[in-house]
Subunit: 281 residues, 2 copies
């Protein structure tokens, strides 16, 4: 694939797993954004190798301080990469990108209830919206892969499994809610590398918050994720749980701000930032 | 020294360097806070081994969002450890502490001008003040020391040298200003350890922002720090510069909010948090 060639819109909303991953890996972030802007919707794990992915949550300006404080008080699930000015849909993390159109799928929230799930939010945009870009664990998957850690959900062409936990975040003003986690089954011989590599990238959730028994987080069944897809583990795999940027959506559901826009879980914003940019050592 | 014994107020405001450091190292954070509350004022490098120190900046509530955003946009100089509710002088980082009295020395700012430098701010406190506790590089000095890195300012009983740089922070609303750095002379054979150990503690400024020629940061003379004391380097020492939590004070000076309270440079808030708590790997 030629990264610099113009890209025609693709009519296929969800290409079959077996055909979609090899080319998506080589897309540039700009190419991925262009495809998503043109209507393609798919999970973004494995897209645009080596680049930083971000969760989105946009709230009215009179909720912005509490959202930023909620993120500061819960830095494992909510590491903030950028905050826009009110009404702005641009970010220095991806010059030329439009936050209203360039994600694969959005969720629109009305008093904590899911009101719409569109592929762009042009019709829902408001001039008072402050947008938060929050680090995503798909970013450290490049480091895991580089260290030889197999990624079951990518191998299986599925979205990562995500779960609402029994752990409550530290509230901030009117915002409260449980921590959400993503889970990856990791073979025991790769566990040390998975922990080491993710730990060095705290801006995209860093080290795991839990390993092993899902009941330690109040999760009843790995087979029934709250978001994303069930993923098949090998017999010896250890479930490893990382804090997840869907946590602000759980806070929106629990706290019922009058309006919010988020990405759909697993369908992230592709930034131009290299993953290495967030590596601390 | 018995850490649990009651501590009498000490009348001596600034004990001579040669007598003060050995016992201060063994103080608990609560003991240090008690001494500072009782009127002792001294730089806090080397105080309460193994604990996390914090910079303080308190601004009126209508500046709080911009201060939090300024910190988010400039995470190297301004890593936020905690933000209080408006008017509150307590923090979960140090149960029982009083942010109005427990620092060695404060600065009170009126429209960006230094108005007072008291040992407590009870007379200046306002119910609309939101206080930010920001990570301090004195915290990673325990890790440097553990790795055998000599600390010239501690050896010499001096405050660390701090400099206003030519690098501008990314503004946030009405807040702008230059980045401030602290400098430690490091022998070449210890440079790798100094970088490695500090890198793993991003919440207390993490890796250095510059090494070597001070002109690279627009600093004219190491002998004339903008804050703190000049420190004598050994002939081969390399100056190593870390982003510094005095940066919000430079933003107060440049941006002139109507009112602010900060710590005095080098005279930090001692939290009960262990340094290890902020280690990412």
């Amino acid at each position: 694939m030629n990264d610099t060639a113009p890209v025609a819109p693709r009519p296929l909303a969800e290409p079959p797993a077996e055909v979609r991953d090899a080319p998506a890996r080589a897309w540039t972030p700009a190419e991925a954004r262009h495809r998503f802007r043109s209507g393609l919707s798919r999970p973004t794990a494995g897209v645009a190798a080596g680049h930083t992915q971000a969760n989105l949550v946009s709230v009215p300006a009179d909720w912005a301080y509490e959202m930023l404080l909620f993120c500061q008080r819960n830095p494992k699930p909510c590491p903030v990469l950028d905050v826009t000015d009110a009404g702005a849909w641009t970010t220095p993390l991806a010059p030329g990108a439009d936050l209203r159109t360039d994600l694969p799928l959005y969720r629109v929230w009305d008093h904590g209830e899911l009101a719409d799930e569109p592929t762009d939010v042009l019709a829902h945009w408001r001039p008072d919206l402050v947008s938060f870009l929050i680090g995503c664990s798909f970013t450290f998957e490049w480091a895991l892969e580089g260290a030889g850690v197999p990624l079951r959900h990518v191998e299986q062409g599925r979205n990562v499994s995500m779960y609402v936990t029994a752990r409550q975040c530290r509230p901030a003003g009117r915002l409260r809610g449980p921590m959400v986690v993503s889970m990856r089954p990791v073979p025991p011989r790769h566990l040390a590398a998975a922990i080491r590599e993710s730990s060095l990238l705290p801006a995209v959730h860093g080290s795991p918050v839990h390993c092993g028994e899902p009941s330690g987080l109040g999760i009843e069944s790995l087979a029934r994720p709250d978001f994303g897809d069930p993923v098949v583990a090998a017999p010896d795999d250890i479930p490893v749980f990382w804090a997840c940027g869907v946590t602000p959506q759980a806070a929106v559901i629990a706290s019922r701000p009058p309006f919010a826009i988020t990405h759909a879980p697993g369908r992230m914003f592709l930034t131009d930032a290299r993953d290495e940019q967030y590596r601390v050592a």
